[in-house]
């Protein structure tokens, strides 16, 4: 089981292989939980979200194919959508400033880290730096748009900007983020980019 790729494990779910699901769970528990916690700021909602994601994987057999990109990205997108759903149901809104609360520190010693956590650590370092380079208002818009999943209208109200400019501002912020990431990658010893 440990040697199989995520995609291979995923395809075993078709035949209701419980060990395959457990292996996927082991690989992604911490990342998905941490991300769901980052989104919802609630241990209970984060746990519910992770549970919902794995139920979707198992029961509905949420359709993943390799042309949808990396399995991990697809799983994280599903986690984001499920978190946003939970937030909407609760009517809960976050007041978390991006980066203020995002710590670099990993709780698992590096030699014990599974592959997924190494990727997390590496990408986390880069993306945090890239976000740091953003101007304050761009950071805020990334927070409201991506992590809080707000509607155009809510973003427009919160930031006191015209509704018609929300989309272009998001686009601009994301593009700056990408440029910053590329700069960071260029400076990092790994150098490679999959964005």
């Amino acid at each position: 089981m440990e040697k199989l790729t995520d995609s291979q494990l995923y395809s075993l779910l078709n035949s209701k292989d419980q060990a395959a699901l457990e292996e996927l769970y082991n690989r992604y528990e911490r990342l998905l939980y941490s991300f769901a916690y980052r989104m919802t700021q609630s241990a209970q909602m984060a746990e519910d979200t992770v549970q919902e994601v794995f139920i979707k994987l198992w029961k509905e057999h949420a359709p993943y194919t390799e042309d949808k990109g990396k399995f991990s990205s697809w799983l994280l997108t599903m986690t984001r959508n499920t978190s946003l759903d939970a937030l909407r149901k609760k009517g809960k809104q976050q007041e978390v400033g991006l980066l203020e609360k995002d710590s670099e520190k990993m709780k698992v010693p590096i030699e014990e880290m599974p592959e997924q956590m190494l990727e997390w650590k590496e990408k986390g370092t880069l993306i945090r730096k890239a976000i740091n380079w953003l101007k304050e208002d761009q950071r805020t818009i990334v927070e409201l748009f991506y992590f809080q999943g707000l509607s155009q209208e809510s973003i427009s109200t919160k930031l006191n900007i015209p509704l018609g400019t929300v989309k272009s501002r998001i686009r601009l912020a994301l593009q700056h983020l990408r440029k910053n990431l590329e700069k960071e990658r260029g400076m990092s010893p790994n150098g490679s980019s999959d964005v």
Binding site: L31, R38, W120, G149, Q175
Partner: protein
């Protein structure tokens, strides 16, 4: 190009659209190259954002809870909260062949996974529908009736349940009269040949439940079920007052 529609991309990405709006946007998306490019770009650009999350330790026992929930989604098992069952005592001096099976006496909000051999009845007033629903999960429900008061104010429900090869009678009652020493509440099943004992119970709280397994070969058509207030737990025929009863 429909600029207004293009702006919906934000709400589409964040799943903020109603079904109808979503449908309309997808129709637009299919023909708007600009939106297609932008959506793909946003998806790529946000790919790494989840990795800013700080490493957060999941709560203890989360893995077990989640995997249990996931595998139980298969429908083979159902979780039901067993309410506190206020039956405090029971009398085992009954006929040899009769087997009494009692709900746990002090099972305060126990989480039990059923699907095995345990039949659960939640014994709380006004939860007759729950009982019905729970019975259906585990067993085949042969009969279900509300017991009407005959003497006094007692009321309750009775059901006959096929559980594998066994046939069980489940009675729950409330507003029962108080018992004095040796007195018991007795459930009777009645057919053309008269009543047979189908479970004895005592309760200090004037509420109670009994699950009684009928001896094999006694699955005849019962006409009536009754609960009486008996002076003791030994009599093969009713001696005391009938508290409540119902036809099947």
């Amino acid at each position: 190009m429909d600029r207004q529609m293009c702006n919906e991309l934000v709400d589409y990405f964040n799943d903020q659209l109603s079904e109808a709006e979503k449908h309309a946007f997808e129709k637009h998306l299919a023909t708007c190259e600009e939106c297609q490019i932008e959506l793909a770009e946003w998806q790529t650009l946000t790919n790494d954002l989840p990795y800013v999350s700080s490493d957060t330790s999941p709560p203890e026992g989360m893995k077990e809870r989640i995997l249990n929930a996931v595998f139980e989604e298969e429908g083979s098992k159902e979780e039901i909260i067993l309410q506190s069952v206020p039956v405090k005592e029971f009398d085992s001096q009954t006929r040899k062949k009769r087997v009494f099976s009692w709900l746990p006496a002090v099972a305060a909000a126990l989480m039990l996974s059923i699907g095995g051999n345990i039949f659960l009845a939640s014994v709380v007033k006004n939860q007759q529908e729950d009982i019905l629903a729970q019975s259906e999960v585990v067993d085949q429900l042969l009969a279900y009736v509300n017991l009407s008061p005959v003497e006094g104010e007692a009321s309750g429900t009775a059901s006959i349940v096929k559980h594998g090869k066994e046939t069980r009678v489940v009675v729950q009652a409330s507003s029962l009269p108080a018992l004095s020493k040796d007195e018991v509440y007795q459930v009777w099943l009645i057919d053309e040949n008269g009543p047979i004992r189908a479970g004895t119970f005592k309760s200090e709280s004037q509420e109670g439940a009994v699950v009684f397994t009928l001896p094999e070969g006694t699955e005849q058509d019962w006409k009536q079920v009754a609960v009486s207030h008996e002076p003791n737990a030994d009599s093969p025929t009713p001696l005391g007052k009938v508290l409540m009863a119902s036809e099947f």
